[in-house]
Amino acid sequence: MTSWALWAVAVVIVSALPTVLSLFQIVQLTVFMIYSLLALSLDLIWGFGGILSFGQAAFFGVGGYVYGIVGINSGSTTLALAAGVAGAAGFAGLLGYFTFYGRVGSMYFAVITLTVTLILHQVMGTTADPRYAVGQARLGGYNGMTNIPSLALEVPGRAPLTLDPIPFFYVVGSLLLLVLALTRALVQASFGRILAAVREDELRTELLGYDARGRKLVTFVLSGGIAGLAGGLFAGWGNFMNPQVFSMFQSALVVIWVMVGGRGTLYGAVVGTLVVQFLTNYLGTASVTYTTVALGTVLVMIVLLFPRGLVPAIEGAIRRAARRRAPAPEFADE
């Protein structure tokens, strides 16, 4: 099946879903797709860049809070969404510049991103007092920012039209497919190949003339922007934003999504997110505690048993089973 056909199938499926699913399921699926965007951002920097970042949740949160601030104060949700993306990307640029150009090792980088996320968690939690507000947007401490406007369609000359769940589902779905398509195109072009070289052997790549630090920074900024987009959409979906997005749990969840789906394919991140979230829902949302234990166990099992990811392991098993049925060709590609 050619990739064009696959894309067409995906578009058709997404378009058709509202006709077969209930409204509640559509709303659920919308937030899962928003999470997929977040997972995608991690796969870009981790699966392709080879750089583990625990900070995607931070960019998600920054994007959401900025969306809230700009949305509440300006009334324009389009501007708010753009601001969320820009804010998150800018933050990623700062952090990336600070670490990549400081020759900080990859493991320390992971710790630093985790620390930054935790710092945000602490700081945002202290903002309960009403004086912590940007314009009319109160930060709200642990309870978070509320009354964040839903995403609205803004046509010049007319009043903004707040999107109902189904149109919002379509907007999120199209954005997800668009980002997925664009990032795949990017990693299959020169940019991606050079990034792979940086990942394999950074020194060698520099000795060929490429500015490895600059490329890592660009990738990190892109991933930050995508995470920020997810954050803005999330704020527009739920009309709230609280410091929980900066928690260890949320940071862990993003990593689990990508680990389940397998690194380095981009669509794997989407699949991994959907699988984990559906599973979590199925197991029952009665107790966050049970979910925590289950997720912790899942993470340990996957690292021990399927270090390359659940989806690649399943793909590999299917391929091996298919090969055993058909007579083996001369050279296996494994």
Binding site: R103, M107, I119, V123, T126, V255, A294, G296, V303
Partner: protein, 286 residues
């Protein structure tokens, strides 16, 4: 004058407790290169050991004595079932221990409930001018330095310590000499876990006991050990002193939370300037 003494005491307290809590991780990360994100949960389990002891009528001191044993044994189990398969795979160890951390927090919450339990602080108070300070916090400070000294002595003046340090440098060589590196790793991990259990137990009456106890400490102890650099004990002590100083100074002038934030930010800046950590100028050692 009294205020200066009390403030100095407070700074010393912050530094000492930071070192006490980070010591186990310094051993595990410094000697084995294992990034154990569940280390803070070992602290938490040490605290719960004390809680269990006191709720069954035993004294706090019994709990403190038991904690390293309990958590050390748990460390053995964890090393055998999870960690030893992931040696050399730093990021995978990080992820697996993260999962472990989540699991432990969840399990403890299920068993003990999510609320904070207090433990009465033994020993009384002493006064400095107008201020009352708890004698137990003095005990905590003394314990910190005692454990630090003992660990240093263990690694540098005993045969066990020599074997451990040799394994850290070259495990092939050590196995050619008849020592099993696997057992050394297991023992070192258990020791690091026991230290954590002890640290958490000592701090339990001062911090309160809650399943998410670890979350408050994980970033601090990690950043302290990493900023400390490859010379484990000296580095962690120095980093603890510097970062503890920053934290307490900022906390005194604003709020404890900003103190923590300032400390973390300062640590990140330090890492940027000294990517190998403070003791990175020296060769790897203890």
């Amino acid at each position: 004058m009294d205020l200066v003494a009390v403030t100095a005491f407070g700074i010393l307290y912050t530094i000492a407790t930071l070192i006490l809590l980070a010591l186990g991780l310094a051993v595990i990360f410094g000697m084995m290169g294992v990034i154990n994100l569940a280390q803070a949960e070992f602290l938490m389990l040490g605290a719960y050991t004390v809680l269990m002891a006191t709720s069954h009528g035993a004294s706090v001191w019994i709990g403190i004595a038991l904690a390293p044993v309990v958590v050390g044994l748990l460390g053995v189990v964890i090393e055998r079932t999870i960690i030893r398969f992931l040696y050399g795979r730093m990021l995978d160890t990080m992820l697996a221990t993260w999962g472990l951390s989540l699991g432990l927090v969840g399990l403890v919450t299920l068993v003990f409930g999510p609320t904070t339990e207090g433990i009465a602080t033994p020993l009384g108070h002493f006064t400095v001018g107008e201020y009352r300070l708890s004698q137990y916090s003095v005990f905590a400070i003394l314990m910190a330095f005692a454990v630090l000294g003992l660990t240093y002595a263990l690694f540098n003046y005993t045969r066990l310590g020599l074997v451990a340090r040799a394994t850290m440098q070259n495990d092939n060589m050590v196995s050619a000499l008849g020592v099993s590196p696997a057992r050394v790793y297991m023992g070192t991990f258990a020791f690091g876990s026991a230290l954590a259990g002890l640290g958490g137990a000592v701090m339990a009456p001062l911090t309160g006991v809650v399943p998410t106890l670890g979350l408050a400490f994980i970033a601090k102890i990690f950043i302290t050990v990493i900023v400390g650099g490859p010379v484990i004990l000296l580095g962690t002590t120095t980093a603890g002193a510097v970062l503890g100083l920053v934290e307490s100074l900022v906390a005194y002038t604003s709020t404890p939370i900003y103190g923590q934030v300032a400390m973390l930010v300062f640590a990140i800046v330090l890492l940027r300037l000294l990517p190998q950590g403070i003791s990175g100028f020296w060769r790897r050692g203890v």
